[in-house]
């Protein structure tokens, strides 16, 4: 499987992905073999079913949302570039990158982009605001059955109250960033990808 994978992925593509996402060559090939192993239909793209076949995702409380995050608006298939683009958000921020000249566009794994990824997991309707319902949904997913809806509602209300500075009863992205400013997002939202 390993050899087959690398022949299907051309060198130029690898280079492009490398530039766009910052992954190393070996990481890209490894993730490509993972991609192909998930791609049961062998058509070079992944559908939602392919993701849902991963058992651990099924029991992850936020599994559906995570899967959703891979698919661009309204589409049902994701190709390898899109796959890598989403995964790039989780690349750890290397120390030496901070010192380089900032590239023209912000790298995918910057703190802001990581936060944006997390924000979009709440904000399903993409109106750039986390409404109370959206928050409640995610809270309900993460929480056991011992909490009644009223309790959860109170928690959601409190969450919004804490974050909301402009009084619109929802959390905007900038409020989201502000509230998490002390949290080590770079470390929390990072995966050490295997070489």
């Amino acid at each position: 499987m390993g050899s087959r994978a690398s022949t299907l992925l051309r060198e130029e593509e690898i280079e492009e992905i490398k530039k766009e996402t910052g992954f190393s060559h070996s990481q890209i090939t490894r993730l490509y073999s993972r991609f192909t192993s998930l791609d049961k239909g062998e058509n070079g793209t992944l559908s939602r079913e392919d993701f849902q076949r991963i058992p651990e995702l099924a029991i992850n409380p936020l599994g559906d949302r995570i899967i959703n995050a891979f698919f661009p608006e309204g589409e049902d298939q994701v190709n390898f570039r899109g796959f890598m683009r989403t995964l790039a958000h989780f690349r750890p921020i290397e120390d030496n990158e901070k010192n380089k000249n900032p590239p023209t566009s912000e790298p995918l794994n910057s703190r802001t982009n990581k936060l944006l990824f997390a924000f979009r997991l709440y904000d399903l309707d993409r109106d750039d605001k986390i409404s109370r319902d959206e928050l409640l949904q995610v809270l309900r997913m993460m929480v056991g059955v011992n909490i009644s809806d009223e309790q959860l509602g109170s928690i959601a209300d409190r969450t919004i109250q804490e974050a909301d500075t402009n009084g619109d009863n929802s959390i905007s992205f900038s409020e989201f960033i502000k509230v998490l400013e002390k949290v080590d997002v770079e470390q929390k939202m990072s995966i050490r990808f295997l070489h």
Binding site: E49, A58, D64, V143, V145, V183
Partner: protein, 779 residues
């Protein structure tokens, strides 16, 4: 409190039944456990007890009341000892605070010490529980079986290299290091131990380098340290048994020989390979045989659990027969067996197996520590300050250095490296336990200083268990070994951090972040194609989620019928979310500081733990809790249904669905806690039972709605959905409608009967198939 009265009733009963000898009563000055102590003396003197009607009845009167103690003596005493140990366990679990600060092993040893002191003062001999054969043939297998059966396989396989590295090389390092150092000490005349030669020192060192991680694991679990340390200590404790036994045999053999040649060393290494690999192979063999046997047991469900126990015990004994590593054999047997057996046997047998495994292991462990205390007092000791102190010192030092060096070597090969705090945790968690005690008793009698060795090993065990066992918790908390960071400044931080952790965990799974993924994939294919066909009775992989689903629904149906109607209102209602949408004009609530604290508490207690980091291993004393997995599955199905029928759901509130809302309205300004008391998750041993009962009974409401829907007109064919798999089982259900219980039952039967139809949906099942195997895996 009931334990106290219960045990005193029991004690009273025993006294009456055995008290014919007229011995003076021992004074009892302590709470519950020692109320049984007064029985210790009487039943040991049982042989002297007179018959109720002595020889004067030669005339031939029919004896109305006789007693024959010697006949039942052995099983009777055994039962009483087990009960005594168990009562003490009950006793100090009543006070949770004690077990937090003092590990149970310490408490058990202390009680054992007391009992031993009593017995010693009346010159009684304790039963020979820690005699070699009894220990290795009867006491040890249940514990190892428990370890193997509930081993968290995924983290184990991820870390198998590291674990073996520490277990094998680490133990070797420790043995040789300690042995040589002690030999060096022996050279000094001033300590008075010159007669101990090198082989004896090495032998002793190999005995005491066996690490027994029970107390350390307890603390690590409680605190929730990162999984890596946990699995390393767990695995090390298991596998160094094999190494220790080999070393022990080797050194015993060598100790008898006057001269050691280098060829013997090579033979030793060859022997080690034979022992290790042989153990694994035997385990696999018996595991497969057991799995195959359970394929045919569907007509004889009542003896299904038997096979698990018999085959694993057989594996152990056969390995002992050939003097290969029985520990490895039984572990491999359990690991292999578990996967297939749990698919073949009925749900009840599965539960029975798990419960019995846990029970046997707990009894065994309790007895071992208990008798450790007892025998400490009653054996002959030889105390030599220098030797013992140096032993302690070297054990500590060599373990520390060993961990340091080994970690430096192995870290580059690991994806998650061990930092210094982790290493300290590993080194400090190296407690010694019963294995080394049993081994030291098997030292050949011709050792001139055998008693010294016995004393030294007891000293080490007690020192490590008490001092290290008690202090490991505060130290681990103080140096803050890597675990979930509780930065509870705001609720936002908590909620969002938790969300991020779930996401990262999910993406890691998605990437198959698993260094042995390639091999896992290969094995999985082999498994699916060949092994499952042979070993499983019912090898329809697609239907396993359907059967899990069936089981879940059946279970919640049963629970629904069991619970009084009032509890239903406690279930989370799906309705409320949609109500909330319309209710835009909520008054802004004022949140008291106390409320916020309670919110933190609620969240902390109720949020799902991150699957990878903290729930991959199970608590040693509780059964694995797969209620969370079940709950997530149920939740997801409910949310799928909700998203399906969201249009029609809004009509619902006008129906007479019991509005759980009205039972839970939080009056503005009122206290969260008083408005609806939070069900506390207790930390008692029956937490699991309570949890699963609660979660299954609370899952009733969504489940109920799912089933009732069946009675409604079903739209033809599943509506097109993104998630084909989920839709397959959902079948476009209509919104819930309240139905009396009778129709509920009908609804449930319908769903059960027609579920096999869901299996035919075949390819649409992937989502559903995976969680069941995941549910199994995660346990």
């Amino acid at each position: 409190m009931w334990a106290r009265s219960g045990s005193s009733w029991f004690a009273l009963l025993l006294v009456f039944s055995c008290y014919a000898g007229g011995k003076p009563e021992l004074e009892v000055s302590k709470p519950s456990p020692p109320t049984n102590l007064q029985n210790v003396k009487p039943f040991h003197d049982g042989d002297h007890e007179p018959q109720a009607y002595p020889e004067e009845e030669e005339r031939g009167r029919l004896p109305v009341f006789t007693m024959d103690y010697p006949r039942i003596q052995v099983p009777f005493e055994f039962t009483l000892w087990v009960l005594l140990a168990s009562f003490s366990k009950i006793g100090f679990n009543i006070y949770h605070k004690i077990t937090i600060w003092i590990p149970e092993s310490c408490l058990l040893i202390s009680i054992g010490l007391i009992v031993g002191a009593i017995m010693h003062s009346v010159k009684e001999e304790p039963p020979a529980v820690l005699d070699t054969d009894v220990f290795f043939l009867y006491m040890l297998p249940p514990i190892v079986l428990d370890n193997g059966y509930f081993m968290p396989t995924r983290p184990f396989y991820e870390n198998v290299g590291t674990v073996l590295w520490y277990a094998v090389v680490g133990t070797l390092w420790n043995s040789v290091g300690i042995g040589l150092s002690l030999y060096a000490i022996c050279q000094f005349e001033v300590f008075g131990v010159q007669d101990i030669n090198l082989q004896e020192n090495l032998l002793f060192a190999s005995i005491i380098s066996a690490v027994d991680p029970v107390a350390a694991l307890n603390v690590f679990e409680d605190i929730g340290v990162n999984e890596q340390i946990y699995i390393v200590i767990f695995g090390e404790g298991l596998f160094n048994d094999a190494v220790t036994v080999v070393l022990y045999n080797m050194f015993t053999f060598l100790a008898d020989m006057p001269v050691v040649e280098s060829s013997d060393v090579f033979l030793g290494m060859a022997r080690f390979l034979v022992v290790g690999v042989g153990g694994v192979l035997f385990g696999l063999l018996f595991g497969f045989v057991a799995a195959f046997t359970t394929r045919f047991t569907h007509k004889t469900r009542s003896i299904e659990p038997l096979f698990v126990f018999m085959f694993s015990y057989l594996a152990y004994l056969v390995a002992e027969l050939f003097a290969i590593s029985s520990v490895l054999a039984i572990i491999m047997c359990a690991v292999t067996m578990k996967y297939y057996v749990e698919e073949n046997v009925s749900q009840r047998s599965c539960t029975t197996i798990r419960h019995v495994v846990k029970m046997l292991a707990t009894i065994s462990e309790t007895l071992i520590f208990f008798f450790l205390g007892v025998v400490t007092i009653t054996t002959e000791h030889e105390w030599n300050w220098a030797y013992i102190l140096f032993t302690l010192l070297f054990a500590f030092v060599w373990r520390g250095i060993g961990i340091l060096v080994l970690t430096q070597i192995v870290n580059p090969f690991r994806t998650i490296t061990f930092n210094f705090k982790d290493q300290f945790g590993l080194a400090y968690g190296g407690l010694r336990g019963a294995i080394c005690f049993a081994l030291v008793f098997t030292l050949p009698e011709n050792f001139s200083r055998k008693n010294l060795f016995v004393t030294a090993s007891i000293a080490i065990i007690i020192f490590t268990v008490f001092i290290q066992g008690i202090s490991i918790r505060p130290i681990v908390e103080y140096i803050n070994i890597r675990r979930t960071n509780k930065d509870l400044k705001t609720i936002n931080v908590e909620v969002h951090s938790r969300m991020m952790e779930h996401v990262v965990s999910g993406v890691e799974d998605l990437c198959g972040q698993w260094s042995h993924y390639y091999w896992k994939d290969k094995f999985k294919k082999f498994n699916d194609r060949i092994l499952r066909r042979i070993l499983l009775r019912d090898n329809r992989a697609e239907s396993s989620i359907v059967s899990l689903y069936k089981k879940l629904e059946l279970q919640s149906a049963i629970d629904l019928l069991d619970t009084p109607m009032g509890d239903l209102s406690a279930a989370p209602s799906i309705v409320s979310l949609h109500d909330e949408k319309r209710d835009s004009s909520r008054p802004k609530k004022k949140f008291l500081a106390a409320d916020v604290r309670k919110m933190h508490d609620i969240l902390a207690k109720n949020m799902y733990k991150i699957r990878q980091k903290t729930t991959a291993y199970t608590n040693r004393y509780n059964l694995p809790d797969n209620s969370q997995t079940r709950e997530i599955l149920i939740r997801r199905h409910a949310s799928i249904r909700r998203s399906l029928g969201s249009g029609s759901l809004r009509e619902l509130p006008s129906n007479s669905v019991p509005r759980s809302q009205k039972y839970y309205s939080l009056q503005p300004g009122s206290d969260l806690e008083s408005a609806f008391p939070l069900r506390r998750r207790s930390h008692a041993l029956d937490e699991v039972d309570r949890l699963s009962h609660r979660s299954s009974s609370h899952s009733v409401a969504p489940m109920r709605r799912l089933d009732i829907i069946r009675e409604q007109t079903v739209p033809g064919g599943p509506p097109p959905l993104e998630r084909g798999g989920a839709a397959g089982s959902v079948r476009g259900r209509k919104p819930p409608v309240p139905a009396p219980r009778r129709s509920l039952r009908r609804g449930r039967e319908e769903s059960v009967d027609s579920e096999p139809g869901g299996a035919e949906e075949g390819t649409g099942e992937p989502l559903l198939r995976s969680p069941s195997s995941a549910a199994r895996d995660s346990t």
